[in-house]
Amino acid sequence: MPILEDLEAGVVEPFLAVVYRVVGVQVRRRPGAYWEHQADPDLDTVVTHDFVADRWERTVAAVLGQGGDDASMERLLHTIVERWLIDRFRETERGSVTRTLVKHLNGHDDFGKVPAGHPGAGRWRLAGTHQPPWAGSLEELVTAAWTVRAAAVRWTSDTRRAPIARATDLSAVLRVVMATAAGSVSEQQLVEVIVRRFPATLSTPTSPPGALDEAAAQVADSDPLPADIWQARQDATTTAEDAVVVVRQLTEQDRHVLRLLADVGSAEAVRQLQKELGCGRSRAYQHLERVRSLVRELTGAFDDEEQVVLDMLTVCQAEGDVSGMVDDGGDEPSNTSESLANVEGRTS
């Protein structure tokens, strides 16, 4: 009897067995939330217990509501479990953004914390001002943040804290946000604004069904890209160096998308991604736009810098076959942050 029919009849165990199997696959793809427990031989069981405790009611409602055959039910379960694992990991991410932001605010004289005993105690405002707590639409602050040209810096490691952006850029964004607020702003509100200002950089995309391993590629912070670096060093212009810094913050999957864009253009790239990822057009388009936005955020540009990176990738691709002959001299920077001036937040 199909598992869904069992569940519709109130029989739980066969369905739980599928959940257990799906959890086993997903927790290996998305280990972030259980990073410290990866060696646990009972990891799948532990995670299944956590998942059921957290999401049983919602999952059963979704599965029984949507219906379909067992294969489509299992696909839905993969999506549900993957997003649950990402949500758990995002709780950590938000915490990381908060810590980096607070460290930045504490370390710069431009900003002041409202002292205890005053209205809005614990909030942040521009130093030297005495304005009351801000109460307005978050959209206004997000819009103000977007008026500042700022280069994001991407997560480069599971163990280091993300710097979010170049320190000078981050200060500039925060100054404009606080000036627009004309009042003190809470840490939570500031985190929300910053996350929306750098959405592609600070997002953890889920992968469409079928792309089991590709999306798990981590940012290549410790692996030099010989062809890229070698090529960049042959061309010592500032533009090329900037481009290489951006390229090195992209995952293999991001680079692949950019190469597709450079090679065949948007429309064909979307079609190609649909095939590769086994997803629909809207999802493929979203995937492509996220990478474009990511490049814009990392370059700190609003338009033309994306083309610089595309050109750079084209050159890298053309030189790809010489990568085996490249003598990188052993002095390559081992991570992105080394190449960036004035970047903070590298503590564990």
Binding site: T45, E57, A61, G65, Q66, S72, T206, G280
Partner: protein, 313 residues
């Protein structure tokens, strides 16, 4: 017995499925959840091949289509054009999102089981979102670009697009192309030779009492000097009223069950039954009169089973 660790087997024995969502629960509420005709306010599964989605019916659109808004439970997601219903407003007992900004027209043929019915205030708001949000509901929040909500939305859009393209029952279009006249012009013997069929079989095709395969349609199209689509529409099409009846959700469980047993597409099985019901009706009423297709399908199904379908079209 499933391959589960003991602790999970124990866990399974302590878990429940909300009774209102079980088959028995649905039968208690709707008597026959697979047999109800579509109506605004119903929350139904929309399914075609391996795509399945939950939708809220907003109203009938053009003939053979319904205007719907997709509903998500998990992953939930929301955007500024959606309505998020509190747990007490639906049978799902958890918060659910109706994506009013993603309204689409879906063929009636993709609608299947009813799983809930929502009150008019929800349907009205979703059909035309206004400032006043229904009780125990809230307007969704802005979806971050590239965030999880935007991903849910993109997946729903893709799903709707696929479901909207599900094949309809082909409807006979006598005005576009007259097969009998074309056959007379070409000559019956030529058709018999080209199709490699006996004369009675070819006569049935010409008179519209037997369907053709796509290969046969291509041969006829070449002989008649018309497009393949014109031949298929003229020969294989069924009366519009029968097509509407075949696409009603009440028959879907039969089409789906037989399609699975025969390892054939649902629309092929649906059409094959329709063609046989039509042929029966043709014999009984000739070309005049308006048959009651509902009862004719029911009678045909009562007299036949899946084994009668194994011969193909």
């Amino acid at each position: 017995m499933t391959d589960l660790p003991q602790s999970l087997r124990l866990l399974a024995s302590s878990l429940n499925v909300p009774s209102v969502l079980t088959t028995d629960g649905l039968r208690q509420r709707f008597s026959d959840p697979d047999g109800l005709d579509p109506a605004a306010g119903q929350v139904r599964r929309a399914q075609w091949e391996d795509k399945s989605l939950l939708v809220l019916l907003l109203g009938a659109a053009q003939e053979r289509y319904w205007r719907v808004a997709p509903v998500s439970i998990d992953p939930t997601g929301e955007d500024e054009n959606s309505l998020v219903l509190a747990a007490q407003r639906s049978a799902f007992s958890v918060e659910v999102t109706v994506w009013a900004g993603l309204q689409a027209c879906l063929p009636t043929a993709v609608l299947s089981r009813v799983v809930d019915v929502w009150e008019t205030d929800v349907t009205t708001w979703c059909a035309s979102p206004g400032a006043t949000v229904p009780a125990a509901a809230r307007r969704g929040q802005f979806a971050m670009p590239y965030g999880p909500d935007a991903e849910v939305r993109a997946d729903l859009q893709d799903m709707l697009e696929t479901l909207a393209e599900a094949p309809l029952v082909p409807v006979r279009q006598t005005t576009t192309f007259d097969v009998a006249a074309a056959a007379t012009r070409v000559g019956l013997n030529v058709l018999v030779e080209a199709l490699g069929l006996a004369i009675p079989a070819v006569v049935k095709i010409v008179k519209g009492k037997a369907a053709v395969t796509e290969d046969q349609a291509a041969i006829l199209a070449r002989l008649f000097g018309v497009a393949v689509g014109d031949v298929l529409a003229a020969v294989n099409g069924l009366p519009a009223e029968l097509a509407v009846e075949l696409e009603r959700p009440r028959w879907r469980s039969v089409w789906q069950t037989w399609a699975a047993q025969l390892r054939r597409a649902e629309d092929a099985v649906r059409f094959q039954v329709g063609a046989r019901v039509f042929a029966l009706g043709y014999r009984q009423t000739g070309t005049t009169g308006t048959p009651n297709w509902d009862s004719r399908i029911a009678h045909w199904l009562a007299d036949h089973d899946v084994k009668d379908m194994s011969g193909g079209t």
